[in-house]
């Protein structure tokens, strides 16, 4: 099984707070990997580091064999560094989020971030812009008619695929919550990713909607040949569809394994699932 994305000793420290400490994950191609943990465990921070939103303090992110982020504590951070020391990563590799997206790594957001004033169709069409070949003038003078049409057709096909074609001309913020989530996923898919990162896709959904979403994620994973990495609090969803699960607590990885292994892990129950019993 080949590994599509891996992090090596990934540490993210803000001031004196170590949000993610020594994170080592391996996401196998074509599988669904979940990242779970109590609130404030550092899951979203890990996502932001992987997608280029933050520059890591230490460690390395490798996507499909290429290093997309690498850093080690320097200058002032060297003095106040509280994370785990690991082998030094001498290089500094920084990639902006847009570059990483174009490499084939798309994400959704915990708090939906659609282009609110624009239509459903435009939202998806904009995501197609990142692979545009025409230049500014070519596009302005419509010299790329074929490209434009292909973009529009692709966007329409995607909307049809996620069942939003009939709302294509509606303002995206006017959609019901569940559909907004779907639209956000469709928009991420429009960038043509190989790895899809979903940040709490089922947040705020009822059990029925969550079940539908589980089926939807598996469905798009298969038909778009994706690898999925997701953060989620809905245990039903995570246990149903994940191939493997990483559990974070206070920035540290406390467990890793298949859903069954994680469910029976004492530390996980203490840190996370135990909260419900208390």
């Amino acid at each position: 099984m080949s590994i599509l994305l891996s992090t090596e000793h990934l540490t993210m420290q803000f001031g004196g707070v170590v949000a993610v400490d020594d994170l080592n994950i391996k996401i196998p191609t074509g599988e669904i990997t979940a990242l779970i943990g109590p609130n404030g465990a550092g899951k979203t921070t890990a996502f932001n580091v992987i997608t280029g939103g933050y520059q890591p303090t230490n460690g390395r992110v490798v996507f499909d064999g290429a290093v997309i982020a690498e850093n080690c504590p320097r200058s002032k951070m060297k003095r106040i560094y509280n994370g785990t020391y690991s082998e030094p990563y001498r290089e500094t590799v920084v990639n902006k989020p847009d570059v990483i997206t174009r490499m084939g790594l798309a994400r959704t957001f915990q708090n939906i971030r659609l282009f609110k004033e624009l239509t459903v169709f435009e939202n998806v069409l904009i995501a197609k812009h990142c692979h545009i070949k025409a230049g500014l003038f070519g596009a302005a003078f419509r010299l790329n008619k074929a490209e434009e049409r292909a973009m529009a057709l692709d966007a329409e096909a995607l909307l049809e695929r996620v069942g939003l074609l009939e709302s294509r001309n509606e303002k995206s913020s006017s959609l019901p919550y569940g559909k907004q989530r779907r639209l956000e996923i469709a928009r991420a898919l429009a960038t043509g990713p190989r790895l899809l990162l979903l940040d709490e896709p089922a947040a705020g959904m009822n059990p029925k909607e969550t079940d539908e979403l589980s089926a939807f994620i598996v469905d798009i994973k298969d038909s778009f040949e994706l690898t999925v990495f997701l953060i989620e609090h809905h245990m039903n969803l995570v246990m149903d569809i994940s191939d493997s699960i990483y559990v974070l607590d206070y920035g540290k990885t406390i467990a890793y394994g298949t859903p069954a292994e994680v469910q029976n892990n004492d530390r996980v129950i203490q840190a996370y699932l135990g909260v419900e019993e208390a």
């Binding site: 971030r113 282009f115 904009i126 812009h129 419509r142 790329n144």
Partner: protein
């Protein structure tokens, strides 16, 4: 894509043709219609600046207040290149003209008549290009800033440009605080087929058409995405820096072209012409028209100019009504009325006259129908 009934295109063409015919009529009656002509020309020039400012503020979400600075770059470039050679000594009587400019102008004066006739357009274009280059360079620094901070930085930038143009060190180029005058009026186009009176409308028309095409292209959608949500736009693979820079450069280019036209319109410019109040005037037009509406900016440019320069003129004259002298009517009173009107308009139309929508014939028909209906009910 959306299918439009072809009627609307025909309506638009008819409207454009009527407007052009009206302009030719104005040209024939230019002696008696002086006020109307000057209001329309200034309106057309400000419409172009307003649209270019809207591209930046309304469509890309970059709150920039540097328009006057870029306009002055265009205005000075154009003026220096088109003031007649024989008038140059008179214009630069205090400090003399820089020899390099004089030599260039003499060289230009020697070229064949055909070249002479297109120099004014080259001057406008060159002014735009210089402003675009300036925008490209300062964009590296200022486009890292967001919202209010960007506004302050661009505001400062505009003032720096003004200070440079009026500084004694550049006396031989910009004529320092004396400014430049004897700038020729608009040149005719297409060997006189389009009279000089109509030139600014044609230039504005072409420029606005380009901006509209750009806004409706894939890049325009990317601009809007940045306006809506920068983080999401970046996560969708849109390079923030690249697209902001594009918008900034294009906006500055057209502002400078409009600045060049303003120099031709006013016939004399000085650094003070391009003070920060000019930017505020344009911001006012953009806000009144609707931030994010090109047609709104164009319509509002004409309305604001006409109201300010023409329709409210009678407030400036002393008025005696039924033998009673009305005390407030005196020079400057129209600006009070103008400001009150602005407040009323902004209160009634919170989003500006057009909001974020564009003019469409269907929309106009709908409005007319809504207005007609209550009348029928009364009958």
């Amino acid at each position: 894509m959306m299918k439009k009934p072809k009627n609307t295109t025909i309506y638009s063409l008819i409207a454009a043709a009527l407007f052009l015919a009206f302009l030719y009529w104005l040209d024939a009656n230019r002696l008696s219609q002086g006020m109307l002509i000057s209001v329309l020309q200034k309106g057309a020039i400000l419409a172009l600046v307003a649209v270019s400012m809207n591209l930046l503020n309304g469509f890309t979400g970059l709150f920039s207040l540097g328009q006057a600075g870029f306009m002055s770059i265009g205005a000075y470039t154009t003026a220096i290149l088109i003031i007649p050679v024989k008038s140059l000594d008179g214009v630069y009587y205090m400090n003399g003209i820089h020899p390099a400019i004089m030599n260039l102008r003499l060289l230009m004066a020697k070229s064949p008549p055909f070249m002479q006739s297109i120099y004014p357009f080259i001057a406008l274009l060159l002014g735009g290009i210089i402003a675009a280059l300036a925008a490209l360079i300062v964009g590296f620094a200022v486009l890292r800033l967001k919202s209010d901070y960007l506004a302050i930085a661009t505001l400062g930038l505009s003032e720096i440009v003004r200070a440079i143009f009026s500084s004694p060190q550049f006396d031989q180029i910009t004529n320092g605080s004396y400014g430049l005058n004897k700038i020729p009026n608009f040149p005719p186009m297409l060997f006189g087929l389009i009279p000089s009176l109509i030139t600014p409308f044609i230039i504005t028309g072409i420029s606005v058409a380009f901006i509209v095409l750009l806004i409706n292209s894939s890049y325009g959608r990317a601009f809007k995405a940045i306006r809506e949500d920068e983080i999401a736009a970046e996560a969708m693979g849109i390079s923030l820096y690249k697209h902001k820079e594009m918008s900034f450069v294009i906006s500055s280019f057209f502002s400078a072209v409009a600045g060049g036209m303003l120099a031709m319109y006013m016939r004399s410019i000085e650094a003070k012409t391009f003070s920060i109040t000019l930017t505020y005037d344009i911001l006012l037009i953009v806000v009144i028209g609707g931030i994010g509406s090109v047609t709104g900016s164009v319509v509002s440019a004409f309305l604001v100019t006409a109201a300010k320069e023409w329709w409210l003129r009678f407030f400036d004259q002393p008025l005696t009504l039924f033998g009673v002298h009305i005390p407030l009517f005196r020079t400057g009173f129209r600006m009070v009325i103008f400001s009150i009107l602005l407040m009323v308009v902004v209160l009634i139309y919170r989003q500006g006259l057009f909001g974020t929508t564009e003019f469409s014939w269907a929309g106009l028909a709908k409005r007319l129908r809504i207005k007609r209906k209550p009348k029928q009910e009364v009958q």
